[in-house]
């Protein structure tokens, strides 16, 4: 098959330009820092938003419940790219000007909140109703019951989904370049389109994401296992 082509490929004797890579490591470190910061801020904010939304749904708070439902569907069924454009290019037309950083955080939170809400909801619904009754029967207030009895169990059940969302959200930061955030993706893109060496740049990009996300994945596995061995989340037979 096309010997000329493959031949040409090898004959040119292509090699990785390591000095180019070495020279641009600082750029990628900067990008990685931006990616990780926005990723973690996004994860934290969406976890809080998601938890609140899931509580509203599970405890059937009137009115808010319908709003939360609408929000979850909107956030899950629109791409982050569209959400970011809306914040960055749309809102200024109606007089709301957000900085690039604010757009990034709001966008990630809007997207992640919906996913986190669903993850928390699955955890909350997996906690038997009788657990809530047992908590209230020892005189805890409904709020105390949620805090000490329901949430820890819900969290353990939801942990795998929550960690999956966390990794998903950190990867979604690669969209932030459209609002001019200098994250990893944007650093790589700027180097490449500015005449840099494509393969070297893209390889560094891949390595950078793996270096950031692999520890998160390993941490997730470790945390899940710990919870399981402690008796968390495991269906105990009655």
């Amino acid at each position: 098959m096309a010997p000329a082509l493959t031949g040409a490929f090898f004959v040119r004797g292509w090699t990785m330009d390591w000095s180019y890579i070495a020279a641009h490591v600082p750029d990628f470190l900067g990008g990685a820092w931006v990616t990780l910061s926005y990723g973690l801020i996004g994860v934290a904010c969406s976890a809080v938003l998601g938890l609140l939304c899931s509580l509203v749904r599970v405890f059937r708070v009137p009115v808010l419940r319908a709003l939360v439902r609408a929000y979850v569907e909107l956030s899950r069924n629109t791409p982050l790219l569209v959400q970011l454009f809306f914040l960055y290019a749309g809102l200024p037309r109606v007089g709301v000007k957000l900085s690039a950083g604010a757009c990034a955080v709001v966008g990630l939170t809007f997207l992640g909140g919906g996913y986190m809400a669903e993850a928390f909801r699955s955890g909350l619904e997996a906690v038997d109703r009788s657990q809530r009754e047992a908590g209230e029967c020892i005189g805890l207030t409904p709020l105390q019951t949620v805090r000490y009895v329901v949430l820890p169990q819900a969290f353990a059940t939801a942990a795998p989904a929550l960690f999956a969302n966390m990794i998903f959200l950190i990867k979604e930061t690669s969209m932030l370049s459209v609002v001019a955030i200098m994250d990893l993706m944007n650093v790589a893109d700027t180097l490449r389109t500015g005449g840099g060496r494509t393969i070297e740049v893209l390889s560094m990009l891949v390595v950078a994401y793996v270096v950031i996300l692999l520890p998160v994945s390993l941490l997730a596995t470790f945390a899940e296992r710990r919870m399981r061995f402690a008796g968390f989340g495991r269906q105990h037979t009655v």
């Binding site: 038997d128 009788s130 657990q131 009754e133 047992a134 908590g135 209230e136 029967c137 020892i138 005189g139 805890l140 207030t141 409904p142 105390q144 000490y148 009895v149 820890p152 169990q153 353990a156 402690a230 008796g231 968390f232 495991r234 105990h236 009655v238």
Partner: protein, 264 residues
């Protein structure tokens, strides 16, 4: 003797199912009331209404002369005085035994942790579980879990303890280890309302027996009357359902509880 609990003409329906029609009871301090009756007669619902897990539709419930039914706001304060233990134990699976025991007294009553811990250790020892404070509930047998659940309820120092078929999910050989704890509490003067299918236990523990059928109190008598010469036909029929006619050999004493046999 002081009347601690009064239930006056309460009714409760779920959708179109009238579970309680007209139930009245009163209970003096230190007495044990046993509620028996066929499945679905409203026994469990009665207990759940007393501590506010279910709202009643009519009538009223008084604790030491104060109406506790119908309010929703400070139910947790009422429940701090009325302990309840369920058939399914409902220990908190994410907490070790000791943390299960400390949660209510420390968080709901605001008592100092160390003081409660000492008390919890004493009570665990009393029910034969001194070595189980540090384990998770799922490593315990059903009988052990239920004894922990009893200790958890007792540590709240309730004025009344409600027991809802607490041995119905247990293997037969574990029933007595739990019921002996209850008998012990009764001897100490704990005021209790007990729903049970264990007729021999009912006879042993009760100061008074209430026979409930179809949401109404059909008969109310001391155990020696109720179990040996019941006044109503319905109670007689109910008690007969626990007897089996001997076939080839004499029926074994004790093997008389059809409903326990079918329980999981």
């Amino acid at each position: 003797m002081d009347t601690i609990l009064q239930v006056r003409h309460i009714g409760k329906a779920f959708e179109h199912n009238q579970v309680l029609r007209d139930v009245s009871l009163e209970l003096d301090e230190g007495r044990v009331l046993v509620v028996v009756g066929p499945s679905g007669c409203g026994k469990s619902t009665l207990l759940r209404c007393i501590n506010g897990l279910e709202q009643i539709d009519s009538g009223e419930i008084l604790l030491r002369g104060e109406v506790i039914s119908g309010q929703r706001k400070n139910l947790h304060l009422v429940r701090q005085k009325i302990g309840m233990v369920f058939q399914s134990y409902d220990l908190f699976p994410h907490m070790r035994v000791m943390d299960n025991l400390l949660l209510g007294p420390v968080k709901a009553l605001g008592r100092p942790k160390e003081e409660v811990r000492a008390e919890a250790e004493r009570m665990l020892a009393r029910v034969g579980l001194a070595d189980k404070a540090g384990v998770y509930p799922r490593t315990l047998s059903g009988g052990q879990r239920q004894r922990v659940a009893l200790v958890r309820a007792m540590l709240m120092q309730p004025e009344i303890l409600l027991l809802d078929e607490i041995t119905a999910a247990l293997d037969p050989e574990m029933v007595s280890e739990v019921l002996n704890v209850v008998l012990d509490l009764a001897r100490d003067g704990m005021t209790m309302v007990i729903v049970t299918h264990e007729m021999r236990f009912a006879e042993a523990v009760a100061d008074e027996v209430v026979f409930l059928e179809d949401g109404c109190v059909v008969e109310r008598n001391p155990p020696e009357v109720f179990f040996h010469r019941p006044e109503t036909e319905r109670a007689k029929r109910f008690l007969q359902s626990f007897d089996y006619a001997p076939r080839r050999r004499a029926a074994q004493p004790g093997a008389n509880t059809a409903e326990e046999q079918s329980a999981p």
